[in-house]
């Protein structure tokens, strides 16, 4: 809960007046002061922008093969080299950004929505409902992920929408568990008991008091879900269930490049760097968000 104004101190320790702004504004301010997170945000924005303008900016069509220039290392006409079929790597990385971002964001949103709702209800209500809900989670965990995904792909077609659903549908389970764990812990804290004593409805308690405090691990785990989803998509591409060629995501480019690591290193270096940088940035932003959103954030020592 937001500390009283008497406890807000500036960097030197002197008390500081706090405006009656919402905790979210505070959070934004704190985030802006976190340099690493802002760097990560900048990188992500740059990549996202590149993904959006890719069709206009890319030097070649993404599916244009030229067998005579297969697997050439970077040159002036192909800044990042070509792949084995003579396609420009820079173009493929730019287009790959689109797919990767789409997959990461959408699947995470799916998992977030389902997982938070489910986990908070289970943790808050406790008792029988909690038992039943968590047993359901256990059951779903035990289902063979591979088969479920294969099945979806085969029964409903190889569209990218199915990819989101399948990936999101697997991730929400862990999210629900973590949220439940957090809610269980927080439920017995004094400020919750206080809010309840003051007559707040269960929903209000959940949404206004519990969740903001549980937000830390949720945000953290969500930002970890995006890269996990991206990696899982790469794994699926590897097995022939991801995006269809000649379309590619960073993950499938990495899978192709990994096979040719010693022979044509640029095929793994550039998509790999793009992927790694993005994932690292996502993590640092998530970290910054976590610090910023922590309602009991202590002051710098």
């Amino acid at each position: 809960m937001r500390a009283s104004s008497a406890e807000c101190r500036g960097p030197t320790g002197a008390p500081r007046a706090v405006s009656a702004a919402s905790p979210w504004m505070d959070a934004l301010r704190r985030l802006r002061r976190n340099r690493v997170a802002m760097l990560g945000l900048a990188i992500l924005t740059a990549f996202a922008l590149a993904a959006v303008v890719a069709p206009w900016v890319a030097p070649y069509p993404y599916d244009r093969t030229d067998l005579r220039y297969g697997a050439r290392s970077p040159t002036w006409s192909h800044l990042l080299g070509t792949d084995e079929l003579g396609r420009d790597v820079l173009t493929r990385v730019l287009y790959g950004a689109r797919i990767s971002f789409a997959v990461g964001i959408l699947a995470t949103l799916v998992s977030l929505t389902i997982g938070v709702t489910y986990g908070s209800v289970a943790g808050f209500r406790g008792g029988r409902l909690d038992q039943v809900m968590m047993r359901a989670v256990d059951i779903l965990y035990g289902l063979p992920f591979m088969f479920f995904v294969i099945l979806l792909m085969v029964l409903f077609g190889r569209s990218i929408l199915n990819l989101f659903i399948a990936l999101g549908a697997v991730q929400w389970l862990t999210m629900a568990r973590i949220v439940r764990g957090q809610v269980l812990s927080l439920r017995v804290r004094e400020f919750i008991l206080a809010a309840q004593a003051m007559g707040a409805s269960p929903r209000r308690v959940l949404v206004r008091h519990l969740l903001p405090n549980a937000l830390g691990p949720i945000v953290v785990y969500a930002t970890l879900t995006v890269p996990a989803v991206m990696l899982e998509e790469a794994f699926l591409s590897f097995l022939g269930l991801g995006v269809q060629p000649p379309m590619s995501s960073w993950g499938s480019l990495a899978a192709e490049g990994a096979a040719a690591m010693e022979a044509y290193p640029w095929l793994i270096i550039f998509p790999g760097l793009a992927l790694t940088t993005t994932l690292l940035s996502l993590n640092f932003v998530g970290d910054g968000l976590r610090d910023a959103l922590d309602p009991q954030a202590t002051l710098r020592r």
């Binding site: 067998l67 084995e84 097995l239 022939g240 269930l241």
Partner: protein, 522 residues
């Protein structure tokens, strides 16, 4: 706390005990990357090449092969005669024993072949014994008395085989694992477990020492083998590493002596190494065209698609291992057979044909799907061909990558328009490539049918004279290529890496390398 520590230590020790001591590479030990965990060691059950590499050294059939030219050599049969009408073989068995000391008798062959043909056993390669008189009838249940089937043990050392019709390549088949003899008493004593180390009884130059699934399979020299004197290798280790790149690295690091394939991306660097080899392989890489589904139901469309593929560029820039661009279906190099030339690369003719079919410059051409199963190689080849069709014909084809089982199911049910495929010959005769295209043949899977083709194949099956036979098959292949349910791209090349210390290994068209001729040099 201390108690917990003790418990943890105990558990750790037990776990670490599951690790065994390392094997040190010694002389006369041949380590092979077999690329996959063998499905089974029962010769009557298996169907794959990696299994053949193991089983052809654990067991021995009536004949073996010459390591250089694959001609049949005496195996369990020291000699044989063929009747004038080409229907009856009489095999005289030599004095050979099983690893447990019992003699190999003609009865062991009869037992094994009955087991394969028995409908209840569900053997997947039973069709290799359909060449026997009444073999097929017994397998389909129409005949229940095995005594009527064309194989019998005249006496313990004489086996008589009666064929349905003259079969020129029968002596190649006797080397195949489906026709190996089996020790009935071992199967009866141990049931399914008879193939395990310690229980297995075999008659080949090597015996099974150990088998840990997914880890390694070890053979050791069989001192009881009739030809044990010429066997130099002491131990053979089969590594089932199925990741190609890892297997390749194992070879480079010296952890294996032979890898029978090279990752596509490494071919150019591998070619510079002295361990690299490439030799023609009896197989064709092609596309199946479903003649029951438009637009490929129109033969002009099929031919146009074929004419628009630059096979030279494909083999030169995409596959790169010296595959032979080829438009026929039966690979070149089979003795006595001269296949017809198919459709080459002629974009102008292709466009003309397409226009005739009603799609000038590809306008109005419906979207088509090209089906293929997951593999790095197929991925690049199909993408290259997709581009060629776009460039030369203005035709847009979507690539559909599915996993293996789905691929098989869709091909089998004709739920595709174009599908990537490959066919490896089972024996050295054009028949193995042409048999499948008969009307309703199980491996046809294109819906194509030609009465004339069936007639020619029937004729060829009955002819005894080699030249006449080859001519009939050539005519049949001409009809096949004319009907174009297939779009051949190239014939396979066997490429791999072999340690220079390995001697007695010779490249041949079936990539068979009997281990009894191999030795390791210092």
């Amino acid at each position: 706390m201390r108690r917990h520590l003790l418990l943890v230590l105990t558990v750790l020790t037990m776990l670490i005990g599951s690790l065994s001591a390392p094997a040190v590479a010694q002389e006369q030990v041949f380590r092979i990357n077999n690329m996959v965990e063998p499905e089974s060691l029962d010769p009557g059950v298996v169907t794959g090449v990696p299994e053949h590499r193991i089983l052809s050294n654990l067991f021995e059939g009536l004949t073996t092969t010459d390591p250089k030219d694959l001609s049949p050599r005496p195996g369990m049969a020291a000699s044989w005669t063929l009747s004038k009408d080409g229907l009856t073989y009489t095999f005289n068995l030599r004095d050979a024993t099983w690893t447990d000391g019992r003699p190999v008798t003609a009865q062991d062959f009869v037992f094994a072949w009955e087991r394969v043909l028995n409908p209840k056993s569900g053997a997947k390669y039973a069709q290799h014994l359909f060449y026997l008189r009444n073999g097929e009838a017994y397998n389909t249940g129409r005949l229940t008395d095995f005594g009527q089937v064309g194989v019998r043990a005249v006496d313990p050392k004489t086996l008589q085989v009666t064929l349905k019709s003259p079969t020129a390549y029968f002596l190649d088949l006797t080397n195949f694992y489906t026709l190996y003899p089996l020790p009935r008493w071992a199967l009866e004593a141990h049931g399914k477990d008879w193939v395990k180390p310690g229980k297995m009884v075999s008659n080949g130059p090597f015996m099974l020492a150990s088998w840990v699934p997914q880890k390694e399979l070890v053979l050791e020299k069989n001192p009881r083998h009739w030809d044990a004197g010429s066997v130099k290798l002491r131990r053979v280790i089969f590594l089932p590493t199925d990741d190609v790149n890892t297997a390749y690295k194992q070879f480079l690091a010296g952890d294996s002596d032979w890898i029978p394939t090279v990752p596509p991306s490494q071919i150019n660097t591998a070619k510079t190494k002295p361990e690299y080899y490439a030799s023609p392989y009896l197989g064709t890489y092609y596309f199946r065209l479903n003649v029951t589904k438009p637009p490929v139901s129109d033969v002009r469309v099929r031919k146009a698609l074929s004419l628009a593929v630059d096979r030279e560029a494909l083999t030169k820039f995409v596959t790169k291992a010296g595959e032979v661009p080829y438009s026929g279906f039966v690979p070149a190099g089979l003795r006595g057979y001269e296949g017809p030339r198919g459709l080459g690369f002629d974009p102008a003719a292709a466009r003309k044909l397409l226009a005739e079919a009603g799609y000038p410059d590809g306008k109005g051409f419906p979207r088509m799907e090209l089906l293929y199963n997951t593999s790095d190689l197929h991925r690049v080849i199909t993408q290259a061909v997709q581009q060629m069709w776009k460039e030369h014909l203005g035709v847009q084809v979507d690539l559909v990558n599915v996993e293996w089982k789905v691929y098989l199911a869709r091909q089998g049910s004709l739920d595709y328009q174009i599908s990537r495929a490959g066919w490896i010959g089972d024996y050295v005769d054009p028949n193995t490539f042409l048999e499948m295209w008969r009307t309703g043949g199980g491996n046809n899977q294109t819906g194509w049918s030609s009465k004339r083709f069936d007639e020619l194949m029937d004729r060829a099956a009955r002819l005894v004279n080699a030249e006449d036979r080859m001519r009939a098959m050539r005519d049949a292949e001409t009809i096949l290529l004319d009907g174009a349910p297939v779009l051949p791209l190239f014939t396979y090349v066997n490429k791999g890496m072999l340690s220079q210390r390995v001697k007695g290994w010779y490249p041949n068209i079936l990539d068979q390398h009997p281990l009894k001729y191999i030795r390791i040099e210092r």
